[in-house]
Amino acid sequence: MLNTNLTGDPRRARLLSLLGQYGVLAAFILLIIFGSLRYEGFLSAYNFSTFLRYNAMFGLISLGMCFVIITGGIDLSVGSVVALSSVVAALLSPYGVVVAVLGAVAAGALVGVINGLIITRLNIQPFIVTLATLLGARGVALLLARNQGGVGLDPGNTALTWLGQGDLLRLPVPGVILLIAFVVGGVALRYSPFGRHALAIGGGEDASKLMGLNVGRVLLGVYVLSGALAGLAGMILAAQLGAGQPTEGLGWELSAIAAVVVGGTLLTGGTGSVWSTLVGALLLGLIFNILNFENGKGIISLSPYWQSVIRGGFLLLVVVIQSRTGRRGRA
């Protein structure tokens, strides 16, 4: 934001800045309009429900990732944590819904504690630490599942299944969970010292220390939050598919990072928005959804690999716009 208007046409700079701020939302709305005009059933309750049910999980890990990236960090372990927590939820399902849910979230939070403690106490880069827990959590998930493809849920635990497959006030339960999480997250980022200090640390860690902020505690907090939200996503995954999935969640961390960046949060930390992250996550999901509909029309047949290409292109576009509008991170 520094020197934004010093070079070039101010009107152009303003336009670019608006594009950077609202471009993602605009693209999201445009895609919805495009989809509703082109495809029958796009706006149907069924599509809406399945869309939210599936993408709620991405939304949750993106929310955690948003907080981590705001501090200038990264959490690569979330995809593995989703798998781990889904297995934990399945294994605990015979003991009731509360135990299963808390167990899944606690497993995720535990990985977050490990990440956070190593990063803050031993002063090791988040990238390396969470890469290690990415491998470790996946391994533990497979071990707990005794190397099987899945761990079935206790069929008697219908409450747990409802959390993944049920509806509340005609909304899919995962979507409701997502909405609550984002409202709480949004308030936390805007109004809680935790959120503000996370932003401050991303903007300048040394300065934050000099101002007396407890940098270590806040950083530990964001990694625990990220782990816990990934745990919640893992529980939803198990509930949806009726089984713990030790091999699921591959590469989800990258989708979450993409969603956060598309939402306009700087990878270098210091600024960021929870709501833009939500839009970013849903937008990436929407691209996939639209491709499915397009294939359904039978005119063209795009392989699912195209979603990767299109998502990648989108990510690049956003980053280029960010740098053009001067929203570059400070070293």
Binding site: Y191, R196, A200, G203, G212
Partner: protein
């Protein structure tokens, strides 16, 4: 602070340094680079542990273990580089860590109103909800001050706060400082601009070589005395304090390089200098007078706002150092460690770094020629190294400097700019480097030497240009280069019409 002592790995940084600041007093702390000012401040704020001496603050002995502890104890430091968070709003920067809350949630309206009130008291009105980075450095410093005031600091340390401010901003800052005085907040003010010290400070402490050499009322010391104290005034008449052997006089004739009326922001306000072939020209002045800045402009590292640079009478406005190097210029920077040597690489590689493009054939370095050149310079400059493949970090400062000199000499330059070539080098090696510089000039090289050492300027230079506050205030040559003249020019400067328009005899 009494009798503070501090050494780093056996090198004494502070020896019996003392500093006394009364409540509500603005105290100037001044000294050359390496005099120990920053070490002193870091000891005070707990960034360093002292080896000896005592610190008393607000009536009792204190022992701060970190800058944070000092801050909580009532000592705030405002650094040159503002230590706030540019991406966050002004109000947040003032209240980070102490936000007004209700039920655990931040009350933005209260925080913004409070921030507004604090800044208005300091005489500043601005939108506190904007990110801090959108404002000028001056405003950012005021915000840092507002933060200090709001945490009830009793002592505020300002480290060269005015170095990047323009005149109006400096005035605003001084207004704020006077406001602090009224609340009996003490201020330690580090600056190299004498005008400012006299304008705002009550008392002054001068440091040199890790010691306090003067402490007294600002009004009791003249500028000239002040500069004398700062630079050390041990008149040595025997000469030969340095390794220079003056080669009679510089050669007359047209200047090789001429810079005239160079302007660059606040830092250069009309600086001029000329160097002839075979001549060593000194560039003198206090810190912040614009010496290095002028050198950087000549070398193409910075673009001037105005002014003329000519080489051999032809306009020579280099846009990059590479262009300057191609035209036959060389530049040994002041900061040898950061901008000169590459510590892990060998003497051989460091020496031929600027030369590699010319040594390479089809992208492969011609090692035979490389060795030839390296051996020649190692012998010629007397570089003491066990083996050309020894990492340069293992060499002494003097020998590192020789390698850097050789690096530029290998490019066969016509003009060499040396920024403090003998700083941080032991006495023996210093004399050797100085002898070398003299020899090089005799061989026809033009040398522009920035130096803070009076002996070096007096004995080594055919001509000395003195800068003050970014412009040339005096040009001394031949026997006219004397200590009183130099000190006088650095401290007060001569009126422009007094600049002797003489040519070296």
């Amino acid at each position: 602070m009494q009798d503070i002592q501090k050494s780093f790995a056996g090198v004494v940084a502070l020896a019996d340094a003392s500093l006394t600041v009364a409540p509500g007093e603005v105290h100037a702390l001044i000294g050359q680079n390496g005099a120990g000012k920053s070490t002193m401040i870091k000891v005070l704020t707990g960034a360093y542990r002292r080896d000896g001496g005592s610190v008393t603050f607000a009536g009792g002995p204190v022992e701060f273990t970190s800058p944070l502890a000092a801050q909580q104890g009532g000592i705030a430091t405002i650094y040159q580089e503002v230590n706030l968070i540019a991406l966050r709003t002004v109000a947040e920067n003032i209240f980070l860590g102490r936000e007004p809350k209700r039920w655990g949630l931040i009350q933005w309206p209260v925080m913004n109103a409070e921030a507004n009130r604090l800044l208005r008291e300091l005489g500043i009105g601005l939108d506190v909800t904007r990110p801090l980075g959108e404002f000028s450095t001056a405003i950012q410093q005021m915000v840092a001050l507002a933060r200090a005031v709001s945490i009830n600091a009793r002592l505020v340390i300002m480290d060269e706060p005015t170095s990047s401010l323009n005149e109006r901003e400096v005035d605003t800052l001084f207004g704020v400082i006077r406001g602090l005085k009224e609340r009996s907040v003490s201020v330690i003010f580090v600056s190299h601009r004498l005008d400012e010290l006299y304008a705002v400070c009550d008392r002054i402490t001068v440091m040199r070589d890790g010691r306090t050499v003067y402490a007294g009322n600002m009004a009791d010391i003249s500028r000239l005395q002040l500069v004398e104290q700062m630079l050390g005034r041990e008149i040595k008449n025997e000469g030969a304090q340095t390794g220079f052997v003056k080669s009679g006089a510089g050669k007359a004739g047209e200047p090789l390089l001429k810079a005239e009326g160079i302007r660059l922001g606040q830092r250069l306000t009309g600086a001029s200098v000329a160097v002839r072939q075979g001549e060593v020209v000194g560039l003198a002045g206090l810190l912040g007078s614009g010496r290095s800045e002028l050198a950087r402009v000549i070398f193409g590292a910075d673009m001037p706002d105005a002014g003329e640079v000519t080489l051999d009478g032809q306009p020579a406005h280099f846009r990059t150092p590479a262009e300057a190097i191609n035209a036959g210029l060389g530049f040994c920077s002041e900061d040898r460690k950061a901008e000169g040597i590459i510590p892990e690489l060998s003497v051989r590689e460091n020496l031929t770094l600027a030369l590699l493009p010319r040594l390479a054939r089809a992208g492969v370095v011609d090692t035979v020629r490389q060795s030839e050149i390296v051996n020649r310079f190692v012998a010629q400059l007397g570089i003491k190294t066990s083996d050309p493949d020894q990492p340069i970090r293992e060499l002494s400062g003097g020998n590192q400097q020789k390698v850097l000199l050789a690096r530029w000499l290998a490019t066969d330059p016509r003009l060499l700019i040396l920024d403090e070539p003998t700083r941080g080098i032991d006495v023996g090696a210093k004399a050797e480097i100085q002898r070398l510089i003299g020899e090089l000039a005799r061989g026809g090289l033009g040398v522009l030497m920035i130096s803070s050492e009076l002996e070096e300027l007096i004995e080594g230079c055919h001509e000395v240009t003195v800068l003050r506050d970014g412009h040339s205030v005096a040009r001394l040559s031949g026997d006219g280069i004397t200590e009183p003249e130099l000190l006088h020019a650095m401290a007060q400067g001569l009126e422009p019409q007094d600049i002797p328009a003489q040519v070296s005899p």
